[in-house]
């Protein structure tokens, strides 16, 4: 390859990394609400993302024909609509199952309920993934729209023949992801319910002294966490084909991003996810395609082993 081709290749992967990373960042923000802030282990986070993908797929299927949305807007509307839907699923799962081993009930258990949470959510993950197989079938599907196969072409740059193809669907999806992150961060920072959630996560007992219904706050936070990750899934669905077992790979992606970003910080989680997206895409410079995910796993191992407090944001206080 000529130097120009190398540069082109690099820029192409960098762009892809940033675009994918923005969506990973959104997914990580969702997990961060649950794991980083509330300190609840949710192994099934990837399966909630998978639900988001399928919900988006079906919502898209039912609205795409209508004039108002059209094929161009519908995928993004569908992805956003997934949020509230999975939020509700999250509330139910939390109320029926997760709340038994978290919060004040969890603190009575061994290791503050972390083991019970791990095992319970592993069970939920198996049920959702395999239940998904029954309901959705095993054939990979994707939301195909005109945008997801249309690039913007940037260049030629520097008088040489560097041409950059930027996928339009991915770009809009990344922008939507950033928008959702910003909106959610604002909600958490400046609204009364957002403050109550943060307070309940920070010190649940003191939150009770303030008159906050901590169980309810945790339930809502869980709903937000899975809902936001599901939106990420919905956005990813328009460019990546998926099947019901897709969740497990993304669990590691999300935990890697959240741990990298530093627990308890939404901004850190987003940056962490962005970094993981870049690592995944740029690893293609020296690794064969099949090993992209291995690169993420190795990256995750290195992060938890070498720098469990994360790169961005503060070190977690309640380790």
């Amino acid at each position: 390859m000529s130097p120009a081709q190398h540069i082109e290749n690099f820029l192409q992967l960098l762009t892809a990394g940033l675009l994918t990373g923005a969506i990973y960042g959104l997914m990580c923000v969702g997990l961060s609400v649950i794991f980083g802030v509330m300190r609840v282990i949710n192994f099934a986070q990837g399966e909630f993302m998978m639900l988001g993908m399928y919900f988006a797929y079906y919502i898209f299927g039912s609205i795409a024909g209508y004039m108002v949305f059209g094929d161009l807007v519908a995928p993004f509307v569908a992805a956003l609509a997934v949020g509230p839907a999975v939020f509700l699923v999250g509330l139910v799962v939390h109320k029926g199952l997760v709340s038994q081993v978290t919060g004040i009930s969890g603190s009575a258990l061994e290791a503050e309920g972390h083991y019970a949470q791990l095992i319970l959510t592993l069970g939920i993950s198996l049920i959702l993934a395999n239940g998904g197989l029954i309901v959705f079938g095993s054939a990979p599907v994707s939301i195909s729209t005109p945008l997801s196969s249309t690039p913007w072409v940037v260049g030629p740059l520097y008088g040489e023949d560097i041409l950059l193809f930027i996928n339009q669907g991915q770009t809009i999806a990344a922008l939507v992801a950033v928008g959702v992150v910003v909106a959610f961060a604002a909600l958490m920072a400046n609204s009364r319910p957002g403050r109550a959630l943060r307070a309940a996560a920070d010190n649940p007992v003191a939150a009770v002294y303030m008159g906050i219904d901590v169980d309810r706050a945790y339930r809502i936070a869980f709903g937000f966490g899975v809902g936001i990750t599901a939106i990420g899934g919905g956005l990813l669905a328009s460019t990546n084909p998926f099947q019901p077992y897709v969740g497990i790979d993304y669990v590691i992606v999300m935990y890697a991003g959240v741990v990298l970003g530093g627990l308890g910080s939404l901004r850190g989680a987003f940056l962490g996810g962005l970094t993981i997206g870049l690592v995944q895409q740029l690893s293609a410079l020296f690794l064969p395609n099949q090993l992209q995910n291995t690169a993420i796993f190795v990256c995750f191992l290195l992060i938890v082993l070498l720098r469990p407090q994360g790169l961005f944001g503060r070190a977690a206080r309640r380790a």
């Binding site: 282990i41 796993f297 190795v298």
Partner: protein, 589 residues
């Protein structure tokens, strides 16, 4: 778990019954199911050996399983090496993999450990796909099939599998009843307390993962032989790790029988559902495992085995209510002689602390503390809440490192030594909050403390028995720790610390939650230990019981030594009165 229960005959009976049943099954499909049950029983036992006993949950046992499976398949494919050699070699490989995984990963605890373990098999899965091993078939051997572990009769596989199960159960049993298992259980309960009791936690965890990895790789190799085809997903997939965990958790964690019960129940159930409904409901197997594990967490968090045993125990307890709970009796001094400290010279300084300081984020928790403790003394360290007493103990037994100062035990510096080394050197310790191993008997709880300075497991037993007698718990030795009174728990913890044959005992708020006669009895016991030459340092907030017990008080306030001296002098010291009752008390008086 019960030490008195005989496992060997039961294991033999199970093997005979299963083997006999196998002889009557001539349907090949059922034969396969019966073999696969055994595979998962061994996988469950392998997982259980590490995670069930030590409490470090592994989500990644598929890594060992898959390595074993690929290894056995590939060496036969490439070099024609028979699985009869391949499987033992796979065990070796699994053990090495355990070591390689364990050394870095044991730096993590709790959920981080679990998640990190998940990453290993997933990474391997993609690596094996990339290497082009999407589907490795074990070649059929025509001329000498038996030499390559290939049999026409499926029942032979069942018998071989049964051999692996029996071996795994016996290994588990050996581990469980030796100090190996006891140390893992101690780690599960409280890793820091285990260190303080003299257990080298990292070494035991590594041994556990090596053994566990070897077991998993062995059965992975056998699985390759049985299935004849190895794919990345079938051996490195999440369901492999999950299934190991689920059969163990379902049947009962930390037991020899749990994984076997789990496998015998769940594997046929899911296989039947799969056969029956797979057409219409393709993921039914995974759903069943998911539901099983959710139900276990909700209804019987430690598995069927424990649930059933708890119910049986409760029934029996209800019928035997008439036997009243045994109260502690004063120390039987004659039996306590074994704990006499050898080097008894009156006035010999045992512990010297010079200028010890420790700050936490600007707060001087311990501030230039100097003190000396002489042999056979009972010293009370008292002070209001937040005076730095527990921090001082944590510095003395090596849990935390000081910013400045030195600590000498018998004239030797103990700074920078691991807590388990310091314990070995003669510093025993109890904790503010007793953390018993609830399902174990008092005797088993105490024996964990005895390993440090005992040559053999039998010595440790003897030491534990003597320590239990010395604190007057003899009658309650076989009671389950979860069922005894607060007083007995305190005595048990004291016995656990005593069983390490300490020259000095650090007791952190040992009187907390005791009242009246209980306090009197415990003071008796402590005096008895001091009479053996054991030096005793007690932390307490309140002086009430302490004034009658101690030879000397050291009063801490805001991390510094406020006063020191005899009980009479200290309780009249204005500085002490001010610390306890406020400055105005003196002004008004």
């Amino acid at each position: 778990m019960s030490r008195t229960g005989r496992h060997w005959p039961w294991i033999a009976a199970f093997a005979l019954a299963y083997g006999a049943l196998a002889l009557f099954v001539d349907n090949q499909y059922y034969q396969l199911i019966m073999t696969v049950v055994l595979v998962w029983a061994v996988m469950g036992l392998a997982w259980n050996l590490l995670s069930g006993y030590s409490g470090l949950i592994s989500f990644g046992h598929a890594a060992f399983f898959g390595l074993g499976a690929y290894f056995v398949a590939l060496i036969q494919l490439t070099w024609g090496i028979s699985p009869w050699y391949g499987i033992p070699l796979a065990a070796l490989l699994g053990g090495v993999a355990g070591l390689v995984v364990g050394v870095p990963t044991f730096r993590l605890r709790g959920h981080y450990f679990a998640l990190a373990m998940l990453a290993y098999p997933l990474a391997l899965l993609y690596v094996f796909e990339w290497l082009g091993y999407q589907e490795v078939a074990v070649p059929m051997v025509r001329d000498a099939p038996a030499a390559y572990m290939q049999f026409d009769d499926g029942r032979v596989y069942i018998l071989i599998g049964l051999g692996f199960v029996v071996a795994s159960m016996l290994i588990t049993r050996l581990v469980e009843r030796s100090r190996f298992g006891m140390c893992l259980l101690a780690i599960k309960q409280d890793e820091t307390a285990a260190e303080a009791a003299g257990i080298d936690t990292l070494a035991w965890k590594l041994r556990a993962i090596v053994l566990s990895g070897a077991m998993a790789a062995t059965i992975g190799g056998f699985y390759a032989v049985v299935q004849l085809v190895v794919t990345p997903l079938s051996v490195f997939g999440v369901l492999v790790s999950a299934q190991a965990l689920i059969v163990a958790m379902f049947g009962g964690v930390g037991t020899v029988w749990g994984p076997v019960i789990g496998a015998v129940t769940l594997v046929p159930l899911s296989a039947w559902l799969d056969a029956e409904f797979a057409e219409r409901l393709p993921g039914i197997q995974g759903v069943i495992y998911g539901v099983a594990i959710v139900a276990v967490v909700m209804l019987a968090p430690e598995g069927l085995f424990w649930k059933v045993r708890d119910i049986v125990r409760r029934r029996r307890a209800a019928s035997a209510r008439t036997e009243s709970a045994t109260a502690a009796t004063p120390a039987a001094a004659t039996r306590a002689d074994g704990f006499r400290v050898a080097d008894v010279r009156a006035g010999r300084t045992v512990l010297t602390v010079n200028g010890l300081s420790k700050s936490f984020g600007g707060l001087r928790a311990v501030d230039a503390v100097s003190l000396e403790v002489r042999q056979g003394e009972i010293v009370g360290i008292i002070g209001p809440n937040g005076a730095g007493k527990t921090t001082l103990f944590n510095l003395l037994n090596g849990f935390i490192a000081p910013d400045a100062g030195e600590v000498l035990l018998d004239g030797q510096s103990i700074l920078g030594k691991a807590p388990n080394r310091i314990c070995r050197g003669g510093v025993g310790r109890t904790f503010q909050i007793v953390k018993p191993f609830r399902r174990m008997s008092i005797a088993d709880n105490v024996v964990i403390g005895a390993y440090v300075n005992a040559g053999s497991d039998d010595d440790a037993r003897a030491l534990a028995t003597a320590a239990i007698a010395a604190v007057g718990l003899g009658d309650a030795a076989e009671s389950i720790a979860g069922s005894v009174s607060n007083e007995q728990l305190r005595l048990m913890e004291l016995a656990r610390a005593l069983a390490s044959r300490p020259s000095i005992l650090l007791l952190d708020e040992i009187f907390a939650g005791l009242a009246g006669a209980e306090v009197e009895r415990l003071m008796q016991v402590i005096r008895g230990l001091a009479a053996l030459g054991i030096t005793i340092v007690i932390i307490e907030h309140t002086m009430q019981a302490m004034v009658q017990l101690v030879d000397r008080f050291i009063v801490l306030d805001h991390g510094a030594v406020l006063a020191a001296g005899s009980p009479g002098a200290v309780t009249r010291d204005p500085a002490v009165i001010e610390a306890y009752l406020g400055r105005k008390w003196l002004e008004d008086a």
